[in-house]
């Protein structure tokens, strides 16, 4: 215990005096939060809309107004031929075109079906899908209103009233920020610790430490300690910053959040130390660390791409990506305010992962020291 604390204290002093470690532990997380927090955003706003209105009636004006008032569209051009709006789309000046046929008002009043066309620029399929969703919802609402006006007897029998829980405005930021917190925590912990053991190998201090009567367990835990404290503090700071900057809510308990963070970071640090025992130089360690933390946490954790829509073999791989469990737990805590019973299996998985990684790192080192 005394020896472990001595290793921890020594490591902490080294970190405090090593510019590179400080960069990875403090600056990189803040930088990533701002960069990804502002840039990684699936919401589409201010869609430039052109209108080709051949009806020029009260009804057609109401329909255009419905689009503009939805808040997603901005009227950019009023055109009178298809050639005109084709040119606008081609030049990228508008993203969507609303084409209203002549006779809209007349047909609506007589209760006929009216086809209204929406042309969407599909060069970015993500954006196009979102735009289409917005357009459809505007049209459906408008259509329901007309039906109510025309039908003398009653309102339509079935109307859809959707309620989105936990994220009523469907802001993609709320969905992404927990993933981003996982991503940042993983990268800074894995990269910073991955350098720590290999640095001692390179500088020869490892040999001196090996000569001391010190168990590898004490050495590994002692090394983890300062990184753990620092990354936990950074992560809490990132959570607070996300609340201040991106309006991340906090509906659950801080104690549970800290618990989830602790388990997750312990696993990440274990992974970093493991890499450090394998690698023979700081460069190799850095590359391995980046490979092992960036990619899986970005691609296979449900951060960006939903795990449920991955092919089965890929889904199986995600089972060993700790961020997968952490993101579920984090979303449950901050967005849903869920109780421990809702995500204890995720926490258990994180605990198992952390124990496994730290044990493996310690074992590997013991074999090298023997």
């Amino acid at each position: 215990m005394r020896k472990m604390l001595a290793v921890g204290r020594k490591e902490f002093r080294q970190i405090a005096r090593d510019r590179r470690s400080l960069m990875v532990l403090l600056f990189v997380p803040a930088f990533f939060l701002l960069l990804y927090g502002y840039a990684l955003n699936f919401d589409v706003q201010n869609i430039q809309l052109a209108v080709h209105d051949s009806d020029r009636s009260q009804a057609s004006r109401d329909l255009v107004n419905a689009f503009v008032e939805s808040g997603y569209f901005r009227l950019a051009a009023d055109v009178s031929s298809s050639r005109e709006y084709e040119a606008l789309i081609e030049r990228g000046e508008v993203r969507a075109v609303l084409v209203i046929p002549s006779g809209l008002q007349r047909d609506l009043l007589t209760g006929h079906r009216v086809p209204v066309q929406v042309v969407i620029n599909g060069d970015n399929s993500n954006t196009a899908t979102t735009v289409m969703g917005y357009a459809l919802s505007v049209l459906q609402t408008a259509s329901a209103q007309y039906q109510a006006q025309v039908s003398t007897r009653s309102a339509p029998l079935v109307t859809v009233e959707s309620r989105v829980w936990y994220n009523p405005q469907l802001r993609s930021a709320l969905f992404l920020i927990p993933g981003l917190i996982a991503y940042i925590g993983m990268i800074s912990s894995v990269v910073s610790t991955s350098l720590s053991v290999v640095r001692e190998k390179e500088r020869g201090t490892m040999e001196q430490v090996r000569m001391a009567p010190l168990g590898t367990g004490s050495y590994i835990l002692g090394k983890t300690l300062p990184y753990f404290v620092i990354s936990l503090a950074t992560s809490v700071f990132i959570v607070l910053a996300s609340m201040a900057l991106f309006g991340l809510p906090m509906n659950g308990s801080w104690a549970l959040l800290i618990l989830a963070l602790s388990l997750y970071l312990a696993g990440a640090l274990g992974l970093g130390l493991m890499i450090s025992t394998i690698a023979e130089s700081q460069q190799v360690a850095f590359q391995l660390a980046v490979l092992a933390s960036f990619l899986p946490t970005m691609m296979l954790s449900g951060f960006v791409f939903p795990i449920a829509s991955m092919p089965a073999p890929i889904q199986a791989i995600t089972l060993v990506v700790p961020a997968r469990y952490f993101i579920v737990a984090l979303r449950s805590i901050v967005l849903k305010g869920a109780e421990l019973s809702a995500f204890w299996t995720e926490l258990a998985a994180l605990a198992v992962y952390a124990a496994l990684m730290l044990t493996l790192a310690s074992r590997r080192l013991a074999r090298q020291w023997a």
Binding site: A6, R13, E207
Partner: protein, 307 residues
């Protein structure tokens, strides 16, 4: 008194390469025992096996009465070890380094404080307690490293090329420390490829290609030249002198030794004046030709050549 270190047929192979080949020797308590050999001769591999850092392929090493392969952890507690790279933590100060290594060896705070005083005095580091290791000059770093290696007052100290890259004055100071330790009963096993340093050792083992090629005191080792005197010849044309001497049947071999030429004779009696005349007759401008005492360098080269 049981020997401090007892090594029997110690062998280490790395694949097909035999780094240490069945070496055996015993080191007495309080002795300064030198491992002399070229780079890659197997000195470090041997010392690492004796310290429990590396498992022997075969053979045994008993250090302070403990079989290293049986209980390497116990051996680690009993010995001090300092390697060629003076593995201190550069970002830590002198005091912090001492405290860290003291804690690793399980010393309590009071003992660390006591030993800190001793090490700082021994290494001449008073006034530099708060200096970071990276800002210390070579000699100080090396003495601090030695201090850190003996914080727990081991009876046996292993030093693996401790003086590499250190200036001659610091090297002499360092050896004075080792001699002091020896007087207080500490056994030292030191590897070096500096021949002048080997003269400080009570006994020397010459390691060549993993084998123990010769062992004994400096004087004993030099006896291989007892019946083969060494001549030192000074000339302005040493290379031509060597070429001429190779033709002389009584001369076994010649080597360049500084600016002079050393020639090993096959017989104890040789006509020096006659030889000088012969060489000068060939216009080789010999200014002096004397019998000299063999140096360890002569011994080392001779042993390596005959191995």
């Amino acid at each position: 008194m049981a020997p401090a270190i007892l090594v029997r047929d110690l062998t280490r192979r790395f694949g097909a390469f035999t780094a240490v080949d069945a070496i055996s020797f015993a080191v007495e308590q309080g002795e300064i025992f030198g491992f002399l050999g070229a780079n890659g001769a197997g000195k470090s591999t041997a010392i690492r096996m004796m310290c429990g850092l590396l498992k022997p392929t075969s053979g045994t090493a008993v250090v302070d009465g403990v079989d290293v392969s049986r209980d390497p952890e116990d051996v680690k507690r009993r010995i001090g070890y300092m390697s060629q790279k003076f593995s201190l933590y550069e970002a830590l100060t002198v005091e912090q380094n001492i405290r860290f290594f003291g804690a690793l060896y399980g010393l309590d705070d009071a003992r660390i404080a006591l030993r800190m005083k001793f090490v700082i005095e021994m290494a001449g580091l008073s006034g530099r307690e708060k200096t970071r290791a990276r800002d210390l000059a070579g000699g100080w770093r090396q003495r601090l490293a030695l201090g850190c290696a003996i914080l727990h007052e081991p009876r046996i100290v292993f030093l693996d090329e401790p003086t590499g890259g250190v200036d001659p004055v610091s090297r002499r100071q360092f050896w004075r420390l080792i001699e002091e330790m020896s007087r207080s009963g500490v056994t030292t096993l030191v590897t070096t490829h500096y021949l002048d340093e080997a003269e400080h050792c009570h006994r020397i083992a010459i390691i060549n290609a993993g084998k123990l090629a010769a062992m004994g005191t400096s004087r004993q080792l030099k006896e291989i030249f007892a019946r083969r005197p060494i001549l030192e010849i000074h000339s302005t044309r040493p290379v031509d002198v060597m070429r001429a001497l190779e033709q002389v049947p009584d001369i076994e071999k010649t080597t360049v030794f500084g600016t002079a030429v050393h020639a090993v004779l096959r017989t104890p009696d040789v006509d020096l004046a006659g030889l000088a005349r012969d060489l000068n007759a060939r216009g080789l401008d010999v200014s002096g030709i004397d019998r000299v005492m063999p140096s360890l360098e002569d011994v080392f080269l001779d042993v390596v050549e005959h191995a």
